[in-house]
């Protein structure tokens, strides 16, 4: 994330417009800085600082961009391991001798004192040779100039987003897993969200931290800023944030058309093998009669209550929703059951790990199937054929 001093943006018609680096315009500088780092491998860090000074002390825009690029690369430099202990022992000996000479020196003689002091030092190394500026650079990141620019653009948005008071995220989800992963991420980060709008084509979330209920809360802004790192993995999205920065206010608008690339580890891609296999078997077995929906509507029962089915099929205009509860999801099972027990116009299939052993009240529209460790596709297919298709067929 770029620091405030690195940020380049303008405010126009109440909008914050970040100055993204265009590949064609900034490739040269990006490459030059990366080359400077590479050329300093094996040299001291202070030599690198010297070599970079021509970019840092330049015209305003080049200096600011350079500082931002350097800030991003800095964290990824590796230094040659140093024997700190050797330096520490050397220092200890030097300081004891130096203390002795300070105490024993009778006359005021600055020059000879300096000579004695310097002679006390080990001539092979500087006294504080283990400081960062004296350390030898071992490796620098092997990014291309384009990689660095993409990282810069993402960090620029994060740097601005940290000043957000209010963030609204609109996503056009491809699957329920992605929604679920996003919500799990928000919850893991301690953020709260409000489902403002929910259609099959768009979900609108307002995201904030618990303390944002009170004015001028900064606490969760860095966590909110980190969301931008996972958004490019969502596919289609738009983000609107109300920003207050340097006593100015504006709206930051970002969408997938900005082509922000994220180097964050894939967050949404993981689906357990057993679930993949389950859904493939169910789909191939029932595809002639059931229409599979990869992204079921994100159902809101009342204004503040929502749940997300894992999978959804449509049969004769009847929606069949499947909700899977693993052994560690007891609370989620109870909460969801409470929410959906009154939804009598739906057909809901609760697929529950046997170890949960919860006595749930019966409801005609909720079917409970238990599994041991791995959800069994056979059980589900049998249930659909026996209880749904047979009963519903004309």
């Amino acid at each position: 994330m770029l620091k405030k001093v690195h940020l380049r943006y303008k405010i126009q018609s109440n909008h914050i417009i970040p100055f993204y680096l265009q590949l064609n315009k900034w490739r040269e500088l990006s490459q030059a800085i990366l080359d400077t780092y590479t050329s300093c491998i094996g040299k001291k860090y202070c030599e690198l600082e010297e070599a970079l000074s021509k970019y840092v002390n330049n015209t305003e825009s080049i200096a600011k961009v350079s500082k931002g690029l350097i800030h991003i690369i800095e964290k990824k430099i590796e230094f040659e391991p140093i024997n700190s202990e050797k330096y520490e022992i050397n220092r200890k000996n030097c300081f004891l001798k130096s203390a002795e000479s300070i105490r024993s020196n009778e006359n005021y003689d600055y020059e000879s004192f300096l000579n004695i002091s310097q002679n006390n030092k080990n001539s092979e190394s500087t006294l504080y040779g283990d400081l960062k500026e004296n350390q030898i650079i071992l490796s620098t990141p092997s990014w291309t100039c384009d990689d660095l620019i993409h990282r810069y653009n993402l960090s620029l948005v994060q740097g601005i987003l940290i000043f957000a008071n209010d963030v609204t995220l609109s996503i056009h989800p491809e699957s329920a897993q992605k929604i679920r992963s996003l919500l799990r991420y928000l919850s893991f980060m301690g953020l709260l969200f409000e489902v403002v709008k929910n259609h099959s084509s768009e979900v609108l979330l307002k995201i904030s931290g618990p303390l944002n209920a009170f004015s001028s809360s900064l606490k969760y802004r860095s966590k909110i800023a980190n969301i931008i790192g996972i958004l490019p993995q969502l596919g289609s999205y738009t983000l609107n944030a109300k920003i207050s920065i340097e006593q100015k206010k504006g709206i930051l608008f970002i969408d997938d058309k900005k082509k922000l690339k994220s180097h964050y580890k894939p967050f949404f891609e993981y689906t357990p093998e057993e679930i993949k296999s389950f859904i493939q078997k169910v789909d191939s077995s029932l595809k002639k009669v059931l229409c599979f929906r990869s992204y079921p509507v994100f159902p809101i029962i009342e204004v503040k209550k929502w749940y997300i089915p894992d999978y959804c099929w449509v049969y004769n205009e009847m929606q069949i929703e499947l909700l899977i509860f693993q052994k560690y999801q007891k609370n989620m099972l109870l909460n969801t059951y409470e929410k959906v027990v009154s939804l009598k116009n739906k057909t809901l299939v609760f697929f529950i790990d046997r170890s949960l052993k919860i006595d749930l009240p019966d409801a005609a529209h909720i079917h409970k199937i238990y599994f041991k460790d791995i959800p069994s596709s056979q059980k589900f297919i049998q249930f659909i054929k026996k209880d749904i298709l047979n009963k519903q067929s004309p």
Binding site: Y110, L114, S117, L127, L211, F214
Partner: protein, 461 residues
Amino acid sequence: MSIPNFYFERGSITIPAAEWNENTQLFLSHIFKYDQRTDQYRAEARHYATAMLSLHKNGIAYKDNIKQFNHCDFEFTDKSITPRPYQTEALNKFRANRSRACIILPTGAGKSFLAMMAIQKVKRDTLILVPTLDLLEQWIEVIEKTFSIQAGRIGGGVKELQNITVCTYDSAQLMMEYIGNRFGFLICDECHHLPGPQYQFAAIMSVAPFRLGLTATPDRSDGKNAYLNDLIGPIAYEQQIQQMSGVYLSDYQTHLIEVPLTDEEDKEYRHERKIYTDFIRKNNIDFSSHASWFDFISLCFSSEDGKKAFKAHQKQKNILKTSENKLKKLYELIQKNKQHSILIFTDDNKTAYRIGETFVLPVITHHTKSAERKEFLNKFKCGAYPILVSSKVLNEGVDVPEANVGIILSGSGSKREHVQRLGRILRKGKNKNAVLYELISKNTSEKWQSRRRREHSAYSQ
């Protein structure tokens, strides 16, 4: 009417909306706010005690699922220690203020011992917030020695919770959303740091009903010291250096020494200074307001003249920091005080290391590893190292009772920094007379900077 349940949730306290009733509306609506995101009523965790007391006093039933701290008895290992009269008085004032107050005492007056007395009286799991890892180590030593218990620590990559835990402000602002309900007593050392934009969340997200703030210098240049009243409590007791010097603190003298630049340095200084001041005048920059420094920086990078002015500004400052005669004078002072324990303060790490390299002296900065830092301090305490050099690290809190001579080679215009630096050498010792030397370059801008930082009663001798 259902009984309201109170929960701790990531630095806030909540009541489910379904349990919000006439009573909660009547007694808690001024601190709780409906949170439509979660269908709960929510308040900042710091209001926990107010909320509970309000319901309790009015005989309203409620269920407290928040409190995770215990009533603890802490016994002094050495029962013969008697507090100084002002420590007892300060403790009484703190207790009289419902154990929520700030105490202002000079460095060396025994704030840590006062805190131990407060912990013993309050009898709750205690969290102590400190600004640096050095202070964290120091507090742990004091706690373990005073109560013969193991103290917990959060900071520097360690997270160990105990009945009394010490935590850095940096770690607290990250951790408080998880541990905010684990401690009933919150002590903020060097509490002038607390009102910072991020650090304040350490106090906002804590439920601790009892709070003690300790500092020698509560004033902040941004005026946010007023926030301490809300975050901790009012100032209940205050003593200044002058009131205690000679009795509970060492007698002290301060000497301002003006050192001339060499002819060559003077010529270079005037040249660079002129480039800088011409630019300032040309652009009508007024440094009396805080924003002007930022105006200067932004102007500097928008023109070639500006860049030159900025370079000139840096160069003239560097000339003053380690001028030849300053170094000679420094040596003279070292020689004059060679039987004493000397602390040398500089404005930045670079100068500190330059002094360290030139005179072969131990330097403590934030780069110094914990073990080596500890060794430097121990050797200084036992007299093996007569001198320590530091930029900012030793400004605050770190206890170096043996130090009786301070030499300020360079510094900012901050009064707080200057008072804290003086405080380092004032801890009472047998026949101890402390001396603080301040070296400034004659006929240069350092004179004005020195005048600004000396605008404190401690320097009005």
